[in-house]
Symmetry: C2
Subunit: 325 residues, 2 copies
């Protein structure tokens, strides 16, 4: 099943069911007005959404209309939780190496995770509006899951069963604001502006064999200013799978329905797969030549993040332009 949220001027938008081929959609207003509402009572509501989905895929649906990602908000335009892991430890190791710092051994054994702002997400084609290029504006292509309720102390196995939906994310980072915030130890506040999400969120069964072991086994494509810069495989080098990330979060608290958990920047050890964030490329350049060559994003730049399965877009594309406030 594929779900999206129609931009209607309200804070939470309206829930739509989207056909598998991303061509048609139908409002789910008779079933659940918003995606959060559906997640609040998933067992009861999701079968009704699935009825609409099956009908759309058969070419039916009396109230169907053309699906247009331009009219989408993030599947959850605001959420009660956004916790982002750093599951591709290669990414973390690279960044540390570039500044001559050792990677603590524990980073391979326990997930790094930060709590992100979740009150103001961007839709898949919304402009990224920021004030200063000097902040070091970077994209970060990620995979994310949305959970049902996960009780405190849940194991990874239990957490796996509570994953309801998957999405792509652009977890924009302000690289030049990060060092000061990292040094304080309190996590990211100013250095992580609004995160963007893919047009649709999909149930795990949509991925077929590509959803295995709590990971998505497909390449994640990042196209910066119309140039493909990254196609790392999301199923490779993911040191902690989604169930492990969720269990980490749930150690001392209940995780409630509608929580979004991110993978962190998708990154492969094989540098030929390119990059899902500019910082990584700059780190490679720094290690190779002593100085970074690739600049961060400039106003007017575009970024496109997508995942294809058999040539077909699974989540639709995040396709954004960076603009000055």
């Amino acid at each position: 099943m594929k779900l999206a949220t129609l931009k209607d001027g309200s804070r939470d938008g309206q829930l739509m069911v989207v056909s598998r081929d991303l061509k048609s959609a139908q409002l789910a207003d008779g079933v659940a007005r918003t995606l959060q509402r559906a997640l609040d009572d998933w067992t009861f509501i999701s079968p009704q959404l699935d009825d609409i989905y099956q009908e759309l895929n058969r070419g039916g649906g009396r109230r169907r209309f053309d699906f247009d990602p331009q009219n989408c908000m993030a599947p959850l335009p605001r959420a009660f939780q956004w916790a982002d892991g750093s599951a591709y430890v290669n990414h973390v190791e690279l960044v540390r190496k570039a500044r001559g710092a050792e990677l603590p051994e524990s980073f391979w054994e326990e997930p790094l995770m930060y709590q992100g702002g979740s009150d103001d997400f961007l839709g898949p084609t919304d402009d990224i509006v920021l004030a200063h290029e000097e902040w070091g504006i970077d994209f970060e292509a990620e995979v994310a899951v949305i959970t049902d309720d996960v009780p405190m102390g849940a194991t990874a196995d239990q957490s796996l069963q509570r994953i309801r939906l998957l999405m792509l994310a652009n977890d924009v980072s302000l690289r030049n604001l990060i060092p000061d915030e990292l040094a304080k130890g309190f996590g990211f506040v100013q250095s992580k502006p609004a995160t963007s999400f893919s047009p649709v969120a999909v149930t795990p069964d949509e991925l077929g064999d590509a959803w295995k072991g709590g990971k998505v086994h497909l390449p994640l494509l990042s196209t910066w200013n119309d140039k493909l810069v990254g196609k790392p495989h999301a199923g490779v080098d993911m040191v902690f799978n989604f169930p492990q990330l969720i269990a980490h979060l749930a150690k001392s608290r209940n995780v409630r329905a509608g929580s979004i958990i991110g993978s962190g920047t998708v990154s492969n050890k094989d540098a030929k797969r390119g990059y899902s964030c500019i910082a990584e490329q700059r780190c490679l350049e720094m290690i190779a030549g002593g100085a970074p060559l690739t600049p961060f994003m400039a106003f007017g730049d575009t970024i496109r993040i997508e995942m294809l399965d058999d040539g077909k877009s699974v989540f639709g594309a995040i396709a954004q332009t960076l603009t000055q406030r």
Copy 2:
């Protein structure tokens, strides 16, 4: 105006208007079903809530009932943002001093702030349920505000005008999990379990002269196992006021309606005022005698957090028992 949320088995509860003396309440269902709904359209909805409030205070209200904090969820049972500052730098300095670390000069100039989990808040009399005393369970008595929309880049003066409500918070901390998370730099995930809030949230005008300069000028009382252990003055030694904390958060992102911003543990330099968290007392003991004497909370312990104005409770009391999961 005083607002609270009735526990009705749903995730968001039902919005109630509560009389100034905290004796009576009336459901606001004809106006707004939930507090978030009211905050989403505050300009339109708050005058209607105020009509109910005035009527309750006059002894009217056809549907009035006795107000009972036992039936309260947190005013916002879940929120789209919970960002907690450390505005009482004395607290931070003390903790550092106890472990022999210098306080960076910047901590006096720029607020420390962490993004907290906001998907699962505790009501004012809900048990604090945790798995292990060994985690070093501590209370933290704080003041918090709820904002309306605050645009990216807002100044402190602009932010002041966007504060809609004030509450008390118990930002429970797991002290023995903090050092590892601090060292990672990514902020608190496991070391900050569910936060609790006072029975009612109040509009700033309820505080009269005690709301001045973006601070609450009243003592905050913490009573641990029926013993008053702290009465620091929330208007003293608050290095960053609430508008400054909000402006810090809004530097690179929009802050949306219903965001909760905390003061951090209220702490005065005058040690005779006692403490709002056990860690601080242990630090003083460590500095004085080389070792902490006061243990962290034990299962069965109670904690009560309240603020009185002229002997009358402003927010009602947070009154919780720590229990084992």
